[in-house]
Symmetry: C2
Subunit: 403 residues, 2 copies
């Protein structure tokens, strides 16, 4: 899993959108992306099916279109209705100790899916990917050793576990630890994929290292339940649902292409939009730019300062103008962040109306957001504290999950 | 390890020699190959060093030039003299249950090195390679599954063990079983190798599957002692000596190129010529052509028939002509086979003289060979019978070797 591009740029209207696992830039038109990738928008009907099956309102990420696209989700839910269990698979490329709010989005959503469907979940930490794809540092600095990424994986795992995964039903693994179990499926996927195909999907070049060429199979392998002979108790063809940001889709398009040739079920997918940088919608945040995001170890004071200082505002230049024209809610980062983290639909709508009409000022919506994010991040830090090495080892232990 | 090409052709004088891990064809000029590969011929001086260090005459494979080329062997022996242990690394790509005599050559030699230097030995069975590189079968036949090659690896291991490796000092592994231990070094080697480099060394193309591109790192990894944290007791940089047929050299040229960037010692190499097919010198045998070789499960009767019927003769068309001109010993397969398996130097020289002078007939030299190979193969079969599953498991067990 990439998902932490260092090539994120602030959008300019002229810029053509680029969405690959390693680069997200430009103004992203998500409807266009659905057409380009050949996935399916999440319909009102599908949301109703969610509600019927789970007995509760769909997650805010669903009803607000943050998870907006899918592949074969309808079919997976129909099978589930008929009694077929599935397993969840998501992951992360450990590239930095400092996770930001956006990194939590797929995990919050996956933990929700685990809870409402009562299913097992496997989480891959692609330390190998980050080692192979790391840019050569400039000047005389040595490239980061493999051990660096293995250590980051353990640090990131603490943040993931803190989101609230069920310890009885969740297995975390790093590729370098778990490759022995993945390798058979990795080989089968690799044999079924030519370099020409991989070039077409991932844009590899001949001057890339040879590890990059083979890596997509390592991210594909956990889509198949046979990669988890112990963890999923030898289920030979359990269906898989993969929640991920839309930029990871190329991996799973490839996976779905090869699945029938391996006599496996194609994994289903559910795609999220990107969590915007403080500087503006339609771009991803970067762990290497402190001002671009709210980080999970930021203090309440820092959160306040960052939002007040950097959160791109849709408000007007002067109070008079703002009162007269109202805010441009569509580009306002504070409002956008509230759509992720303010659960109360009515309050959110109230804020939208008041802000769009000019009744609410930019400073006021920022204050609302600060009041939500400060306790949210503090609560996360508290929960992360509870993730001791012992807890971590429990999640990493290769053991049969409960399901 | 490839070493079992199905693209072996009988040589024609016009044919340009091709020597890669997957194809050996044409008339091979070994002196030219040494220049082309940039290795070093084994000198008389080096043989004397062997004798001094081991206290016995060098193996027939050495004194008859069957192992004829090396890289840094002199340096390795000097270090050994100063007290530095090394480990032996060789291997095989399991492509067939029916091994032939030629397959034994590197193992006989490696077992000899293990005995005279009293060093540990690791033997890689590249089931992953054979799965990735297997040709697509013709027509509607399904490609062989991974399990097929895993099973072949166990069968081949019995033949290897029967050669006489020390159970206390020898570790056998299949890549699919052992990849977890290799993976860190595989990644480090992959990151240090671009596709352009791999293309240059191995002749990969863009329509190859992506597993092939990464595989050379899997064959390279066991050259470094850190791939054996348990087996070699955590030795961080123990020197390695690799006995192999010269066609495997490209893997280890690559390995030696990347070693310094990984702060590892370059492995030393000792190269053998090819064991000729019954049909003639200067070509490799093929497991898929029964008449091309003496197989290790051939009966005494079959051995006799094969040699009499197929062993290419340097004898003349008529007895009269033969008595007058003598045999062309250089192209005579029976004589060549005797150079591998007749240990008595004097008797061999006697045969050579008598045959070259026309005193000995083609049928007579074939009889000499049959009398040597029949008991040799029978003895191998007897020893192989003793390799029970229990013995096999012992060699495959991940455990500290004695050294």
């Amino acid at each position: 899993m990439g998902g932490d591009s260092t090539e994120t740029h602030p959008p300019t209207p002229q810029q053509e959108a680029v969405v690959t696992p390693w680069t997200v830039s430009g103004v992203i038109d998500y409807d266009k992306l659905i057409k380009q990738f050949g996935s399916t928008p999440i319909s009102e009907q599908l949301l109703q099916k969610f509600q019927a099956l789970t007995g509760e309102r769909p997650h805010v990420f669903l009803r607000r279109g943050i998870f907006f696209s899918h592949r074969d989700l309808n079919e997976l839910l129909t099978r589930y209705e008929q009694g077929d269990k599935f397993f969840l698979y998501t992951g992360r490329g450990p590239s930095s100790t400092a996770l930001h709010l956006g990194h939590l989005v797929p995990f919050i959503f996956t933990a929700y899916l685990q809870r409402v469907f009562n299913v097992p979940c496997v989480i891959q930490l692609t330390d190998d990917e980050k080692f192979l794809f790391a840019k050569q540092p400039k000047g005389s600095e040595a490239p980061k050793p493999l051990e660096h990424f293995q250590q980051l994986a353990r640090e990131n795992a603490k943040d993931i576990i803190a989101v609230g995964f069920d310890p009885e039903k969740t297995f975390l693994f790093t590729d370098t630890d778990y490759i022995g179990y993945l390798y058979s499926n990795v080989l089968k996927i690799q044999r079924a994929t030519t370099y020409n195909q991989a070039k077409g999907i991932f844009g590899f070049t001949d001057s890339d290292n040879i590890g990059k060429h083979g890596f997509p199979a390592v991210q594909a392998a956990p889509s198949f339940s046979t990669s988890f002979p112990i963890v999923l108790k030898g289920e030979p063809n359990m269906r898989c649902l993969i929640p991920c940001a839309i930029d990871q889709d190329p991996y799973f398009r490839m996976t779905r292409d090869v699945a029938p040739r391996l006599t496996y079920s194609k994994p289903s997918l559910i795609h999220s939009k990107f969590f915007p940088a403080l500087q503006g919608e339609n771009s991803k945040m970067s762990s290497s730019i402190a001002e671009s995001a709210i980080f999970l170890d930021d203090t309440p004071k820092k959160i306040k300062t960052k939002i007040n200082k950097y959160a791109f505002s849709g408000g007007r230049q002067t109070i008079e103008e703002h009162r007269r024209l109202g805010a441009n809610v569509d580009v306002d980062v504070s409002y956008r962040y509230l759509t992720f983290f303010l659960e109360d639909d009515e309050r959110l709508e109230q804020i939208r109306q008041q802000y769009a009409s000019g009744q609410m000022l930019s400073g006021e919506i920022k204050k609302e957001l600060i009041q939500i994010l400060q306790p949210l991040v503090e609560e996360h830090q508290r929960k992360r504290q509870l993730v001791t090495d012992e807890v971590l080892d429990k999640f990493f232990e290769i053991r049969p999950l409960k399901f």
